[in-house]
């Protein structure tokens, strides 16, 4: 059984969610409710996005390298101490088609965890 998310991990998770979805006031207001299941669902969304989005693929590779590789649960380990890097990378995605369609297909899954 994993431990509850720390405040720092929740903030890091919000950064990743906003890279995928853009700024989302609805999710920003629910940061306190982020939990282990939210991390799992965001990890699934990232995995789906890597199938058509090269920038996400690069992001996931760098995050996974900082964590424990692409084994299940890698994102939880990568959340620790990654927010600074994310904030300073100014990651932007040009592949809007892939991001918008795949991200939407996982959105209600994320909301169901809150």
């Amino acid at each position: 059984m994993s431990t509850p998310l720390t405040r720092e991990e929740k903030e890091s998770l919000l950064l990743i969610i906003e890279i995928i979805y853009g700024p989302d006031p609805t999710l920003q207001m629910q940061v306190d409710s982020f939990n282990e299941r939210t991390v799992e669902v965001v990890e699934e969304a990232l995995a789906a996005l890597t199938q058509c989005n090269d920038n996400i693929k690069a992001l996931v590779s760098s995050l996974a390298n900082a964590g424990s590789g692409l084994t299940k649960g890698w994102l939880r380990w990568s959340l620790k101490g990654m927010s600074y890097g994310l904030k300073n990378d100014h990651i932007r995605f040009n592949e809007a088609a892939c991001r918008n369609v795949i991200a939407l297909s996982r959105k209600s899954h994320i909301q169901m965890t809150l």
């Binding site: 609805t26 199938q51 058509c52 989005n53 040009n94 592949e95 297909s105 959105k107 899954h109 909301q111």
Partner: protein
């Protein structure tokens, strides 16, 4: 000193005026029954289903969370939201279900569409794919027991299509509630 006294008097009179116009009352502690909830993350508004009958809730993208096992999200994709690609947006659903990207000149976009096809269609196999036509609209349904998607196009809106990503609804629920709903 006189100025402070004057200010105090003014504030006091203001508060009296406010107390006179704003009435306080308590709500009955009776729980509402048969409600639907509208939420923006910070506040959830409970509204009686009968009161909402026929009402329109206007939003550019939204999710409907029915229960733990059933939920869906709706969003319309436009040329602008896809960074102005040189394709007819209303042809995207057909391209995806037929896996026909021959009309897409942009190599990067073609790769993206192939990726979308893989995630929405290949990865959800075994699935059932159907196209339902009604008046000016067509709904492309990719049904699988867990993750389904409905892509809706309108002949009058060539620069857009709408994606409804559905989780946990059975085929009858999707046909009776979602597809009939968008074809109205």
């Amino acid at each position: 000193m006189k100025i402070f006294a004057g200010l105090f008097l003014l504030t006091f009179l203001n508060s009296l005026a406010f107390a006179d116009s704003a009435k306080e009352f308590s709500l009955e502690e009776k729980p509402l029954s048969d409600t639907m909830m509208l939420s923006n993350g910070a506040l959830t508004l409970h509204l009686p289903v009968a009161f909402m009958n026929g009402a329109r809730v206007v939003a550019s993208g939204y999710s409907v969370l029915i229960d733990k096992e059933r939920h869906f999200s709706v969003e319309t994709h436009t040329k602008a939201s896809w960074n102005d690609p040189e394709i007819a947006m209303s042809d995207v659903p057909r391209m995806l279900v037929e896996q026909d990207f021959s009309s897409v000149a942009d190599e990067g976009l073609r790769r993206e569409l192939q990726g979308i096809h893989k995630v929405l269609i290949e990865n959800t196999k075994p699935n059932e794919i159907d196209v339902i036509h009604h008046k000016n609209r067509a709904a492309y349904l990719v049904f699988s027991p867990q993750d389904s998607v409905v892509l809706v196009v309108d002949k009058d809106k060539p620069d857009a299509f709408t994606q409804i990503s559905v989780y946990g609804l059975n085929r009858k629920e999707i046909e009776d509630h979602i597809i009939k709903g968008v074809m109205q």
